[in-house]
Symmetry: C2
Subunit: 237 residues, 2 copies
DNA sequence: CACTGTGAATGCATTCACAGCG
DNA sequence: CGCTGTGAATGCATTCACAGTG
C-alpha cells in the first residue's frame, strides 16, 4: 500500500501533514543514518527525541503521520524506518535537478556543499548576469548567461531553482525559473517573491536570523525577576 | 522549545510577543526603508501587507505588539514607525560584534555579505581549525587559529557567534562560543547543538530546505497556495 | 470615510495521558 | 514491563469582524 500524498488515513479520515513535521522529517532521516552507523537495530521515540532535542511524544506523533513503523515495547527498527522515511522524503533512488542563479560567494558555497549531492540534489545549470563570470567553471559546471536560463532549464529538466542574486534581480530570476518550469524555489535574496500557487517557495534570510537574535539580546539584559525559565530559543528553520 | 522575553503592556497586562512576529519585525523594517525611499509619508496596514504578502490584520496585530503607532484614517507614519521598530529590533545606533568559526565557502560568503554591516553586525573575529587558512586575510580580517577563539572573543567583546564548520566540529565550537561569553549563536552546520538556556540558538539548515521541497515535489498534489505564511510553506525560518 | 486596535473565533501544532500490544 | 499510537487537552498564531477614532 502506498501513500499518495500529504495525508494520512485514520478511520477513513485524511489528515494533512503539518508543514513543521515535514521539516523535521529531514532531521529524522539524518539522525537515523547517524545512529545506524553505531550498529543499533532499534531506537525508541525517547532516545531519538533526546538526540534531536524534541519530546518523545512529538517523535511518535510525527512518525505516525507517515505510517505505523513502531513495535510496542521495542521501538522503531532503524533500517526499515530510515528506508521508509527516505522514500517518503523523496530522496531515495532518485535525483533532483537544480539550477542556480547567481554565481557569487553564496552561490559558490552552495555548489561546494557536499551534502546536496549526497541527498540526490544535483546542480546542472549555473547562470549569472555578470559577463565577467560567464564562461568560468565552478565545481565542474560552466557559468552561463542569464539570457540562456529558460532554454537551459528545459534542456536539463530542472526541478528546483536556487536564487542567490542581489535582491533587486531576484523577482526577475524567479519569473524565469517559473517560466522555465520549476516546481520549487529556494530564495536566498532578502526579497519577498511572487510565485504562482503551483510553485513552492522557501526563503532563507540570513540577515533576518541575526536581527531576530538582536531583538532578544537587546532585551534579555534587563531581567525583571525571572519567573520560571529564562530566555532561550532552540529553533530549526 | 521557545521561551520569549518580549512583552507588551495592555491595561497593565503584559503579553508575550510571538516568536514568529519577531521574525517579521525584521521584514517590516526592511520594507519600510524601501518604501521610505519612494518619498511616502504614510502607509496603511493594507499596503504594507501587500508588499510583504501578509494580511492587513496580521500587520496591525504585529505592529500593535510593540506599541500604538498608527493614526486612524491615515495609517502609520513611515519615518516614525521605522525609527521605533529599528530601536526595538536593537539595530539602531548600535553595533553587534560577531565572531565567525569556519572560513570556508559559506563563511566567506557571510563575510562578504554587505547587509550585515549595514544593519550594525560587525565581524571582528574569524577562526578556522585548518592551519592552511590561519593567517589569511578575508574582507580585511585575519583568520586566527581555533585555539585562540576564547581569548579573542573576550578581547573583542563578541556578542554573537556564527558557526560554519563541518558538523562534527560544530558542538566543540559551540561550547567555545559559550565559554567565550556569547549570548546568541547562529548555526549553519547540519547538527543539533546543545547550549545552556541563557544562550539563544538559531539553526539555518540549507539541505533541509531542499529536502522539505523534495517532499512536496514527490507527491505533486499541492497542499495549498499559502500566501504569507511564516516559517512555513512560503517563508523563512 | 478610511483607517487602527483589539476581543473573539478559528485554525495549527504540541503535549498529555493512557489504553493496548509484544 | 517498556513502548507505541492516538484521542483529548492545551497552547500558539492567524484571521475575522467591528467598535472607535482622527
Amino acid at each position: 500500500m502506498t501513500r499518495t500524498n500529504g495525508m494520512r488515513r485514520t478511520n477513513g479520515l485524511r489528515r494533512q501533514i503539518p508543514e513543521a513535521c515535514v521539516e523535521r522529517l529531514s532531521l529524522y532521516v539524518r539522525e537515523l543514518s547517524r545512529i545506524r552507523r553505531q550498529g543499533n537495530g532499534f531506537v525508541s521515540s525517547r532516545r531519538l527525541a533526546q538526540h534531536l532535542r524534541f519530546t518523545d511524544a512529538q517523535v511518535r506523533r510525527d512518525l505516525n503521520y507517515f505510517g505505523q513503523f513502531g513495535t510496542s515495547g521495542r521501538g522503531y527498527e532503524i533500517q526499515r524506518l530510515l528506508a521508509a522515511l527516505s522514500r517518503i522524503l523523496g530522496i531515495q533512488g532518485r535525483t533532483w535537478h537544480v539550477a542556480l542563479a547567481g554565481a557569487g560567494n553564496l552561490g559558490s558555497a552552495l555548489l561546494a556543499y557536499r551534502g546536496f549531492r549526497e541527498r540526490g540534489f544535483v546542480f546542472r545549470v549555473i547562470v549569472d548576469a555578470d559577463p565577467q563570470k560567464v564562461g568560468r567553471t565552478i565545481q565542474g559546471l560552466t557559468v552561463a548567461s542569464s539570457d540562456e536560463l529558460e532554454a537551459l532549464m528545459r534542456r536539463h529538466r530542472i526541478h528546483i531553482g536556487i536564487i542567490t542574486v542581489p535582491s533587486e534581480a531576484a523577482q526577475g530570476v524567479c519569473d524565469r525559473f517559473v517560466r522555465g518550469g520549476v516546481r520549487a524555489i529556494v530564495n536566498f535574496a532578502p526579497a519577498r517573491l511572487d510565485v504562482p500557487p503551483s510553485v513552492r517557495l522557501r526563503n532563507v534570510d540570513m540577515a533576518l536570523e541575526l536581527e531576530a537574535l538582536a531583538f532578544y539580546l537587546g532585551r534579555d539584559r534587563l531581567p525583571a525577576g525571572r519567573h520560571g525559565a529564562p530566555a532561550a530559543a532552540q529553533d530549526s528553520p
